[in-house]
């Protein structure tokens, strides 16, 4: 690697002046321009002052994992040539309604600074940030060369904001609003793309409900010859999809609209022809309200599929079993648990190269009347079956209602290469249903066997034992999610003391109190953030933490006026920007 070679040359014992003369700034900057990974760039910037300077001048993309860890002014001062910004805002648990609305992470103040510091900004990728229509309009008008906007799990804007983007961003190549909560005032935003606009390469509006003007969409797709990613919403019918596919056979990623009965489809054969043209598809998603009689039309397009997202398609096991043999190269599969264990057996027999499996619950709130003896969803049998057929599994997210320690141990014995292991036993504090013991041994097996584990989410009945295992064995762990687990402060302590690479720790409804919180003092400065909600931490404990560690922001979200001492929700993160200046009244900065 380039960096290593340069380091060797520098350490050859020559005097500082000679060393420096080997690398005029321009050369260094030019070389560093090839270093893309932000971790590598951070490392580069720490070598010496010259490298720090060269690095900051040559950096074009900045990644900020926590928008409050730094201020836009600091970013603008350090990096003069930024073209692309990635920002993440709210804590991840905001996805599950644990963060009150109006908490913050508003992009606007960033945009104002960027408008003057980075007028040539081309890309903005936001996750869990609040973005208003005013901000979108400001963005569209302020950055003439703007190309790519990606808003993942964001909120605060309406379709009017999208209209601004479509109207003014002449060089737009990407518009992706996946999973964002959008106030839908209609579908006319899509018609705002000018008729001579042809630059689009990626468009994802799958999360919207309202109908867009289909003619406008069809014309847009027809003239954007470089379009590679198209993910439409469920208002698009099968016949409309067919027409779009005939216009854009070059698509690499497709999100279909509704896959249910469409009387305007003249014959099924036509749909199949359209899919048959799409030889380059790598990713397929959508399939809302899928009607199984149309599934075979997909088969011709699946030969090169690498990622199949069926999390909105309630397929039965037989349908999945017929679909999968057409996808021999599949590496990532997301399904609903309507496919049940039998469906997972089909995965095991067909998907030999599978690296990632996510199984979501079709009925998370148990609203169906479940008959005695008739199980729903997936069980440990499906999990084990997949592990037997897919030895390359590295990423699993598995929602189930029952699990056993033995099954999990078997799974990781079959697949020791997990980097991401997220098991969600939906019944809170559910023990091993066969032995009635806690699930400690299951996660013990995971951390002992999967030495490359970077992300872990635990569930089920867990004592401090599970956390002892994690602290002892999970040496590469970076992210840990815990809910309804543990018996005492010791649990959290084990993790904080034992996992050197921990960056994100999110905890809810656990019996961890002040001494657990305070066992992490210096650790928190090496982590991105800590979240604790519904634990036993008090305001006093948080104040103590804040006093001892002045470079951390210790925030308490307080909604319940009655309990004065309890810290309901605690968010601790390192920051060079000092305390937040935009905190709402329910966020106490200590």
């Amino acid at each position: 690697m380039t960096i290593k070679k340069k380091k060797e040359i520098i350490d050859d014992g020559k005097s500082p002046e000679n060393r420096l003369s080997l690398f005029p700034d321009e050369v260094l900057e030019r070389v560093l321009g090839f270093v893309k990974s932000h971790k590598d760039r951070s490392a580069v910037s720490l070598v010496c002052k010259d490298w720090y300077t060269a690095e900051r001048w040559s950096r074009t993309h900045v990644f900020i994992g926590n928008c409050y860890s730094v201020s836009p002014e600091i970013v603008a001062r350090r990096f003069p040539n930024i073209r692309s910004v990635t920002l993440k805002g709210k804590p991840r648990f905001s996805d599950f309604n644990l963060v009150p609305p109006d908490w913050g992470a508003d992009i606007h103040s960033w945009l104002v600074i960027f408008a003057s510091a980075f007028p040539f900004l081309e890309e903005l990728r936001l996750k869990r940030m609040t973005v208003t229509d005013e901000s979108l309009d400001f963005l569209a008008r302020s950055f003439t060369g703007f190309k790519a906007l990606s808003l993942v799990s964001c909120d605060g804007f309406s379709t009017n904001g999208l209209a601004s983007i479509a109207s003014y961003c002449r060089n737009l190549t990407e518009l992706d609003i996946q999973e964002s909560g959008v106030d839908e005032l209609g579908g006319s935003w899509l018609s705002c793309f000018p008729e001579n606009f042809m630059a689009l390469e990626a468009l994802n509006f799958a999360n919207l409900n309202s109908e867009v003007n289909f003619d406008a969409l069809e014309r847009l797709v027809a003239r954007c010859r470089s379009l590679k990613v198209l993910k439409v919403n469920k208002s698009i019918t099968l016949e409309q999809l067919r027409r779009l596919l005939m216009r854009a056979p070059q698509l690499v990623e497709l999100g279909t609209g509704s896959f249910s009965q469409d009387h305007s489809l003249r014959t099924d054969g036509e749909l199949e022809v359209a899919f048959n043209n799409c030889k380059s598809l790598h990713t397929l998603s959508g399939l809302w309200e899928v009607s199984s009689m149309y599934l075979p039309a997909l088969y011709p397009a699946c030969a090169n599929l690498v990622f199949l997202n069926l999390s909105y398609a309630a397929l039965q096991s037989t349908e999945l079993a017929k679909l999968l043999p057409n996808c021999p190269l599949l590496r990532r599969l997301w399904v609903l648990d309507t496919v049940e264990d039998k469906g997972l057996e089909a995965v095991a027999s067909n998907c030999h190269f599978l690296e990632e499996l996510r199984v979501f619950p079709a009925d998370p709130f148990d609203q169906e009347i479940i008959q005695e003896g008739v199980g729903t969803g997936v069980t440990e049998f499906g999990f084990v079956a997949v592990s037997e057929g897919c030895p390359n599994l590295q990423y699993v997210l598995y929602f189930c209602r029952q699990m056993t320690n033995a099954a999990v141990a078997t799974v990781v014995r079959n697949c020791p290469n997990f980097t991401h292991f997220r098991l969600c036993i939906m019944n809170m504090c559910e023990p091993d249903y066969l032995t009635n013991e806690p699930m400690d041994e299951a996660f013990g097996a995971v951390v002992k066997t999967c030495t490359r584990l970077r992300r872990l989410a635990v569930s089920g009945l867990l004592t401090d034992r599970a956390f002892e295992y994690i602290g002892t064995y999970a040496k590469n762990l970076e992210t840990l999610s815990v809910a309804f687990a543990g018996s005492s402060d010791r649990g959290m302590q084990c993790v904080l003391e034992g996992c050197p690479k921990l960056r994100k720790l999110e905890i809810r409804d656990c019996p961890f109190g002040n001494s657990a919180l305070l066992s992490g003092l210096e650790r928190y400065e090496t982590m991105r953030s800590l979240w604790m909600s519904a634990c036993k931490v008090t305001i006093d404990g948080c104040c103590l933490l804040a006093r001892k560690m002045p470079r951390l922001n210790v925030e308490v979200i307080k909604e319940d006026e009655n309990d004065e001492t309890h810290a309901e929700k605690v968010y601790v993160y390192r920051s060079v920007a000092g305390p937040r200046r935009d905190a709402p009244p329910f966020v106490l900065t200590l």
Binding site: D95, F96, Q367, N427, E437, P438, A483, C535, H566
Partner: protein, 176 residues
């Protein structure tokens, strides 16, 4: 559903963690809000004072951890299977004649408030903003849920609201 009277296993000290459901292979899983017990550090025994009602339809809005888009898609799917529309009666305090509104045609609280504000030509608010306002021409939106209780609109996720709402009432701010 009943709790066992003794610890499930001799190797486990019942005071170190709350023991919950101990029966196996139930077809109807149980959700139980443990947060209070955990906060108080109580161990669960069979004594009646710590027993909580095992209401198997109890739902915790933020568990299991499913992202909002998928969550609403799944709930919609369920509701669609049974019916394509959800018309509920809406009354405004002081007006004897009510209106009807199809909640499935809306997708968020924002949409609901906007639509109702248009229908009734009034300013209507829900939970978050409500508490700070007490002028006479501001209204609150309340709803009757499946259990017959009148609740303030806006506390639970939208998709969950759709499953429990039976009717709506718009009341004046200074009447609450």
């Amino acid at each position: 559903m009943e709790e066992q009277t003794s610890s499930p296993s001799s190797s486990i000290d019942s005071s170190s963690y709350p023991v919950l459901s101990t029966s196996s292979s139930r077809s109807r899983p149980i959700f139980r809000d443990l947060s209070t017990d955990l906060k108080l550090g109580l161990s669960i025994s069979s004594s009646p004072s710590t027993d909580t009602s095992f209401n198997s339809t109890e739902q915790v809005p933020d568990w299991p951890p499913i992202k909002p888009l998928l969550r609403s898609a799944l709930v919609e799917k369920r509701n669609e299977r049974h019916q394509d529309s959800l018309f509920v009666k809406v009354y405004m305090e002081g007006l004897p004649i009510g209106r009807k509104l199809d909640l499935f045609s809306l997708h968020s609280y924002d949409g609901l408030l906007k639509t109702l504000s248009r229908m009734f030509k009034a300013t209507i608010l829900c939970t978050d903003v409500a508490a700070q306002v007490s002028s006479s021409d501001i209204h609150f939106l309340t709803y009757e849920d499946k259990e017959g209780d009148w609740m303030m609109v806006g506390d639970v996720p939208w998709e969950m609201f759709l499953t429990t709402v039976k009717r709506l009432k718009i009341t004046r701010a200074d009447n609450l």
